[in-house]
């Protein structure tokens, strides 16, 4: 069990992991984080000296190299500011911290949901029989036919292969949505797989709602969710599941397993403290916990990008890259744009801001004035 837990750390563990403010990378422990920051963000590019903070580096650059430091190296575009004193995880502004935590939670639940969907395993603390059947799926006759045809074709292929003396690894193509993603199964935070979920398209935009929510619409009216419908979506690493899952309406064909997930009843682990601040992105007026079924899923180009990026591999760097890619667009909207192109416009608007020009003559250059001075004027020698 212990080992298994290691493979899928629970949400508290994830939230407790130290991470770097400048590049959003996560680390196993604080020591590593600090050494990362010293090497990547607080290292003097002149002499290689590694300082403890950006402020320290700035002072060092000033005193030793007589240069001024403008930005923190290797930092995300809107995290290059020098005025924020960061050491390890100390000093991270509250809002950024919350954003980060929310994203971790998002990723966690998305990945968890996916994992469950993939394996059909019930959540911890529930016996198999009690939980929903592994795959309740209603197929249209057409789909059934298609599947049958595919199955037959596969059998035929296997037979043919067997006849040839080769063995084909059984592949469930398009039959079990779970197996399709099981390659990613070992990493609970796989960005790519998370992004594949229809309900999590906007994950990167820090959707205010947990991914399992799209499952709601498939509950019969007056659902059997214990404790009623959650008022505020919240998460629990050890929640209990509704006792049964209605076999009634089924997800649309082709939908991934996430739709089969039961809703989570509310509970209040400490992490939820970060949640209420989220802006309700899509569920405006969400008060009684009935989510709007129309969950936006049109993928933006950024999403596509992220999905593609996430598919590349499943190491932690990939995750960070994805996190970066996922955050950047939004941050650019909010922050970076202001000091970037918008800054130019802004400055134009601020034209009224008083300026005093040191040299204000737009007709005559300083050189012309100088040469007119007796001191510099050329007087042709009288030959």
């Amino acid at each position: 069990m212990g080992k298994k837990k290691r493979a899928h750390p629970d949400v508290e563990e994830l939230l407790a992991r130290p991470w770097c403010y400048y590049c959003e990378r996560e680390f196993e422990d604080l020591k590593l984080l600090i050494s990362h920051q010293k090497a990547k963000h607080f290292k003097c590019e002149r002499c290689g000296k590694r300082l403890n903070t950006a402020g320290g580096l700035s002072v060092h650059m000033n005193q030793v190299h007589k240069e001024s430091l403008n930005c923190v190296e290797n930092a995300l575009p809107n995290r290059q500011a020098l005025d924020i004193e960061i050491f390890g995880v100390e000093g991270i502004p509250e809002d950024i911290l919350q954003q980060h935590n929310q994203r971790i939670i998002q990723n966690y639940y998305t990945a968890q949901a996916e994992r469950r969907a993939a394996t059909g395993n019930p959540p911890p603390g529930q016996s198999r029989g009690q939980g929903p059947a592994k795959k309740i799926k209603q197929e249209t006759p057409d789909e059934l036919k298609q599947r049958l045809a595919a199955h037959r074709a596969k059998l035929a292929a296997q037979k043919a292969a067997a006849a040839n003396g080769t063995v084909i690894a059984p592949e469930a193509q398009g039959q079990s949505p779970g197996q399709g993603v099981s390659a990613n199964f070992h990493n609970p935070l796989i960005p790519g797989s998370a992004a594949d979920l229809p309900g999590s398209r906007d994950l990167h935009q820090i959707s205010p709602f947990p991914p399992p929510q799209p499952g709601f619409p498939y509950l019969p009216p007056g659902g059997i969710v214990p404790g009623g419908v959650p008022g505020v979506p919240s998460y629990s690493p050890s929640q209990t599941y509704p006792p049964s899952y209605p076999p009634g309406p089924s997800p649309p064909p082709g939908a991934s397993g996430a739709f089969n997930l039961p809703a989570r009843p509310p509970s209040n682990p400490p992490v939820t403290s970060a949640l209420p601040q989220r802006p309700p992105y899509y569920y405006n007026g969400h008060g009684n916990g009935t989510p709007t079924p129309a969950f936006p899923r049109s993928p933006s180009t950024v999403d596509d990008l992220v999905v593609n990026a996430g598919r590349g591999g499943d190491d932690i760097d990939q995750l960070i890259r994805m996190a970066e890619a996922g955050i950047k667009p939004q941050q650019q909207k909010n922050g970076a744009a202001e000091d970037g192109a918008a800054g130019e416009k802004k400055s134009k608007k601020d034209k009224e801001k008083n300026t005093r020009m040191i040299y204000g003559d737009s007709e005559i250059s300083p050189e012309e004035k100088m040469i007119a001075e007796p001191r510099y004027r050329f007087v042709a020698e009288v030959a």
Binding site: S35, H36, K38, A39, C47, G48, E67, Y359, S365
Partner: protein
């Protein structure tokens, strides 16, 4: 995301440094050599008008001064010593200087309205051209062996120096405004004038015209600018510098602004141009929220990386990445206004000329005496290297 950054990296910084330098090889040691900056021992005795490194000898530096002298310095290899090799006295204050075909030839633009050729070896001076007003700028195109001088008599004088048999009288181009700055790229000459006029001339066109010129048929030869533009900056242009890759140029104005533009006359290329504010300071609080805006006197492109440096009346030098539109560095304040900048041909040195700036209306007792200095900054290997667009 960061190569080499792995989770076993728990050594102490010092230890890690040693390990890195053992495996990192020469590259690392070079980046660890701290950049040095030193002051040239015998600076000009009055304000300087220009400062330029030789195009082929990376350690030769010419400084033209208002004290009527041209100064030749040599930057010592690997030492902090820059020696004054020679001074070349002139009749009047010098407004500009450039190198000629080789490291021993220079041309000066004089307040005595003459363009002089100086043999730096022998000190021999030859009059190349005579204008009717002081000569503001002089540029030499090595690619075409053409010398161009711009004077406040509203003309450009063009000389073909490749062919000694060519007429000694210059081919003249009329200008619509007083020229204030001029720069060449391999194929273009950019002349910035009053009233925000910018003319770009095509050097091959000029060369073709020169070939037809016999000294008497000037009236038949009509050289039109390849492009006529209005400066992107609203105020008087202070400096122009062309990109070494022949793609475009940067201009700066008296109003703390720099513009970057491209030669190519297509909508896409022109859409890329931009301008930004720089060399400004917040005024002391008693004046309220006022920005003091300094003129940007000098621009210089790095010959290797294509980044550029700007120097302003605020006494600072900043390095800019034209592609990424970012400031890479801002150096410590110099004691006086930065008047001229030049990168050495190998990009290893940046020469910074400082002298007192010009406060409007305070021209009467202006003197740069004792306050004119030349600094040589030895750049770290990647110091002027841009990071590329982000």
């Amino acid at each position: 995301m960061a190569p080499g950054e792995n989770e076993t990296d728990v050594q102490t910084p010092r230890k890690r440094l040693i390990i890195k330098s053992a495996t990192g090889g020469p590259k690392l040691t070079s980046t660890q050599t701290p950049a040095t900056q030193f002051e040239v021992a015998e600076p000009p005795k009055d304000a300087m008008s220009a400062l330029v490194f030789a195009p082929d000898a990376a350690n030769r530096l010419l400084v033209s001064s208002w004290d009527k002298n041209l100064y030749l310095y040599e930057v010592g290899e690997g030492t902090d010593e820059t020696k004054l090799i020679k001074t070349y006295p002139h009749r009047a204050a010098l407004l500009n200087v450039c190198f000629g075909a080789n490291e021993n030839e220079a041309f000066t633009a004089g307040g005595d309205m003459r363009v002089m050729r100086i043999d730096l070896e022998t000190g021999e001076q030859t009059v190349i051209s005579k204008h009717k007003e002081p000569v503001r700028c002089v540029v030499y195109s090595r690619e075409h062996s053409i010398l161009i001088s711009a004077s406040w008599d509203l003309t450009l004088h063009i000389h073909n120096l490749a062919d000694r048999s060519s007429p000694s009288s210059p081919l003249e181009i009329k200008l619509p405004g007083k020229p204030h700055a001029m720069s060449t790229s391999p194929s273009k000459v950019v002349v910035a004038m009053t009233a925000r006029l910018v003319h770009i001339y095509d050097l091959p066109t000029i060369a073709a015209a020169l070939a037809k010129f016999d000294g008497t048929n000037a009236a038949e030869i009509d050289i039109q600018p390849w492009q006529q533009r209005e400066s992107s900056l609203k105020f008087l242009t202070r400096a122009v510098s062309c990109m070494p890759n022949d793609a475009g140029y940067a201009t700066s104005s008296i109003e703390g602004r720099v513009a970057v533009e491209w030669f190519e006359d297509t909508a896409e290329s022109q859409a890329r141009k931009y301008a930004f504010k720089c060399h400004r300071q917040a005024a002391p609080e008693e004046e309220g929220s006022i920005d003091i805006v300094y003129p940007v006197h000098a621009l210089a492109f790095h010959p290797v990386y294509g980044t550029f440096a700007s120097g302003g009346g605020d006494g600072t030098v900043a390095l800019w990445d034209a592609e990424a539109k970012r400031r890479m560095r801002q150096y410590q304040k110099f004691p006086e206004s930065v008047a001229a900048l030049s990168f050495s041909s190998d990009g290893k040195y940046l020469a910074i000329g400082v002298c007192p700036g010009f406060e409007t209306g305070k021209m009467e007792d202006y003197t740069g005496e004792g306050r004119t200095k030349v600094f040589i900054r030895e750049l770290g290997e990647t110091e002027a290297k841009g990071k590329g667009p982000k």
